[in-house]
């Protein structure tokens, strides 16, 4: 589904990704872990198509199509979703209005009519229940005055609404208390299917207790230095990242 080949990317002449190889197939959950500054968020941004980052070598393919020339909104239409580490505020635009616009833009790209209001409401009701979101919350301005937990829950609510093929969750666990973490993880698990894939970016093993990965990759200095099954996450939790750093040096 998603294939990353020897990906190099830089921002303002500073190379951050130095040859990433990763293949994510439908139905799989991959976890990407690594210390601060290892390039995790950059990888997420590059997959989503943020222009600030320049791809200097390699490629990102979705279903066999090279995404290099594909604009961020078109990537979204094709099913790439990024749950942001720091979701931005858009004052005066309600969560509902934002979702309505996003869904209809994607439908338009696929040659479909706007979603009828009735269907939209039904979908909003179902998905907000899934994430235990209070309906009042949906009429508030997007992310304005939201607590950290509310922001993250809202990201996953959007994921539920947009039904992406590949969802990248960038530190979705940060800022969540244990109850919120469980709700968010439950939501993600329910959205998981044989047709889609999830990439979880995280520092800690905590989230992976709830969203169980098929593969764990450790990113260090812009490269995947170690891959394994879910037990690798446990090992990391135990030994810390220094173990990986030392191993990388050796």
């Amino acid at each position: 589904m998603l294939k990353i080949n020897n990906l190099h990317a830089q921002v303002e002449d500073k190379e951050i990704l130095r040859g990433i190889n990763l293949e994510v197939k439908a139905g799989e959950v991959h976890a990407i872990m690594g210390p601060n500054g290892s390039g995790k968020s950059t990888l997420a941004s590059v997959i989503a198509g943020k222009e600030e980052f320049e791809v200097t070598e390699g490629s990102v393919e979705l279903d066999g199509e090279d995404l290099e020339e594909v604009a961020p909104e078109e990537r979204a239409h094709k099913g790439v979703f990024l749950s942001f580490q720091y979701p931005v505020e858009i004052p005066g635009v309600s969560v509902t209005n934002f979702m309505k616009t996003a869904i209809n833009e994607s439908r338009k790209a696929r040659g479909l009519e706007d979603m009828p209001a009735k269907d939209m409401l039904k979908m909003i009701r179902e998905k907000s229940e899934l994430l235990e979101i209070d309906r009042k919350f949906l009429s508030r301005s997007l992310n304005e005055g939201f607590s950290g937990g509310e922001k993250k829950r809202n990201e996953i609510f959007q994921m539920a609404m947009l039904e992406p093929k590949v969802a990248i969750l960038d530190e979705t666990d940060s800022g969540l208390d244990i109850d919120a973490l469980r709700i968010v993880a439950n939501g993600v698990n329910k959205l998981k299917s044989k047709e889609n894939a999830v990439i979880v970016i995280t520092h800690y093993q905590r989230l992976l207790d709830y969203i169980v990965p098929d593969f764990v990759h450790v990113l260090h200095n812009g490269k995947i230095v170690k891959s394994g099954g879910k037990e690798l996450a446990m090992e990391l939790e135990e030994k810390g990242y220094d173990w990986i750093k030392n191993e990388a040096v050796v």
């Binding site: 989503a48 198509g49 943020k50 222009e51 600030e52 604009a71 961020p72 909104e73 990537r75 979204a76 239409h77 790439v80 979703f81 990024l82 942001f84 979701p87 931005v88 505020e89 858009i90 004052p91 005066g92 635009v93 209005n97 934002f98 616009t101 996003a102 869904i103 209809n104 833009e105 994607s106 338009k108 790209a109 706007d114 301005s141 959007q158 947009l162």
Partner: protein
């Protein structure tokens, strides 16, 4: 008014000013220049009574002794007042104005402007007066309104038919001596709307005037007078467009509102005069004086969406004379390319327990300059006066400017005045966030701008809110990347 995404897309594709066309109608246009004879000739053309002619001449003499104001934060080449024609009228505008024998070219123009003059196919619940260049060419629903005793007609007709009302109120809120442009307008105004709502009557429909400058080399000087008698209510809306021209055209209007005891006037403007082209050539100079007088327990609410004009200079204000009266000002001013706007309000608190609210949203893009200028004045007898002001600016790009000039003068210790101001920039992060959700940049900007303007858009009559929203999007297209 079903408005689909497709409509929006189509509009976003049209990069030019939509109303920039010129309609070839035979016009009766005065020679250029301004002197007492021209003032007399305008008055004669309008078949005005002696008192009106004298009033104009007096204003002209006052104007001659005045200087063009310089204090606004705008730069422009001063208009040559001798190079403007002060009267231009479509020749075939029938004075009796039955729709059957209106010049088909004129009808075609209305169609292009999206105005329905056919009362059968009317825009629901809106009575319209249409002013092209210097004259009113059509007024709808006069009969329906007359049944309630409401007078809604071109001011030139009102001078003939209701001279006692016009004489009593005209110039009482904006005196001839008020300022340079108000004096000029008083001397040469040619048409505009007059509206009178009798005691206790709630006007059953929106009243609206549509202003159109069509002829080149002319200026438009209209005058609007709205009088709401005791305990009455009216909602009034004006819209404005002009052809795209290389030259700068002058629009100097005066609007006076009078809200008597317990009356309420809601006055909304959607101003979309030609803003000039992308290089800053041409466009309308919009120098307007708007003011309302509030008697006891009355309320005046100004709402404006300003997207057009090369230069705007305009401060819709309220004189809160009566105790417990309320003044409101809700404004969205958008400037793009080389546009300049200096706009805001004055809230003059004279009565006790008077309240005012100011919400101003300035959006600047391109190389434009957008200034908010407001005065909150609390008189010595205005016990317990309250004001709340909020001025928000939104910037797009690095070459535009947003400025806020709030003035506060309080002479009564019991006054409560609050002022809040914010400046923000549409960030790349916001745009990328929208992009990531499948929303393209143009649409993302529209979404962010609409969110920013929501508090004010919500104040517009429903029929026009969609229109205004659309206008905001069009005005800002092409302003990013």
């Amino acid at each position: 008014m079903a408005y689909t995404e497709d409509d929006l897309k189509k509009e976003l594709e049209t990069q030019e000013y939509e109303y920039g066309f010129y309609t070839n109608i035979e016009s009766d246009t005065f020679p250029k220049g301004l002197n007492e004879d021209i003032v007399r000739a305008i008055s004669k053309k309008k078949n005005e009574p002696e008192w009106m002619t004298e009033w104009r001449l007096d204003a002209f003499r006052i104007w001659e002794s005045m200087k063009e104001p310089e204090w606004a934060n705008v730069r422009y080449e001063k208009p040559d007042f001798q190079a403007i024609s002060y009267y231009s009228a479509p020749k075939k505008a029938d004075p009796n104005k039955t729709m059957d024998d209106v010049d088909p070219e004129l009808l075609e123009m209305y169609k292009k402007l999206g105005i329905s003059v056919d009362e059968q196919k009317r825009l629901q619940n809106v009575a319209v007066d249409i002013v092209v260049d210097s004259v009113s060419v059509a007024t709808t629903f006069q009969k329906t309104l007359a049944e309630k005793g409401i007078i809604f007609m071109p001011i030139s007709e009102a001078i003939q038919e209701h001279p006692e009302l016009v004489k009593k109120y005209m110039g009482t809120v904006v005196p001839k001596t008020d300022n340079f442009y108000a004096a000029l307008n008083s001397a040469v105004f040619t048409d505009g709307s007059f509206c009178y709502i009798p005691k206790g009557v709630k006007c059953p429909m929106e009243l609206s005037t549509y202003f159109r400058i069509n002829e080149g080399g002319t200026g438009q000087f209209e005058r609007t007078l709205v009088v709401a008698d005791e305990s009455s209510y009216v909602s009034y809306l004006e819209g404005c467009t002009a052809p795209s021209r290389d030259e700068n055209q002058l629009h100097a209007a005066v609007v006076e509102l009078i809200a008597m005891d317990d009356a309420e006037i809601k006055y909304s403007t959607v101003q979309n005069w030609f803003p000039g082209n992308k290089e800053g050539k041409g466009g309308v100079y919009n120098f307007v004086t708007k003011r309302g007088l509030c008697e006891k327990n009355s309320k005046i609410s100004w709402t404006q969406v300003e997207t057009g004009s090369a230069v705007t200079w305009k401060y819709p204000s309220c004189i809160l004379k009566g105790n417990n009266s309320v003044g409101e000002f809700y404004s969205i001013a958008v400037t793009n390319n080389f546009q300049q706007a200096d706009t805001g309000t004055k809230m003059i608190h004279l009565g006790k327990n008077t309240k005012s609210t100011i919400i101003s949203k300035g959006i600047s893009a391109g190389k434009s300059q957008n200034s908010y200028r407001g005065l909150v004045q609390i008189g010595s007898r205005a016990e317990n006066a309250r004001n709340f002001s909020q001025c928000d600016s939104l910037l797009m790009g690095n070459e535009c400017g947003a400025h806020t000039f709030p003035y506060i003068e309080a002479k009564n210790k019991s006054a409560q005045i609050e002022h809040e101001a914010t400046t923000s920039k549409i960030g790349e992060d916001q745009i990328f966030y929208c992009n990531q959700r499948g929303i393209d940049t143009e649409k993302a900007i529209a979404l962010i701008v609409n969110g920013f303007s929501k508090e004010v858009l919500n104040k517009l009559p429903m029929e026009f809110a969609v229109e205004a929203q659309k206008l905001l999007e069009i005005s800002l297209e092409g302003s990013v990347g």
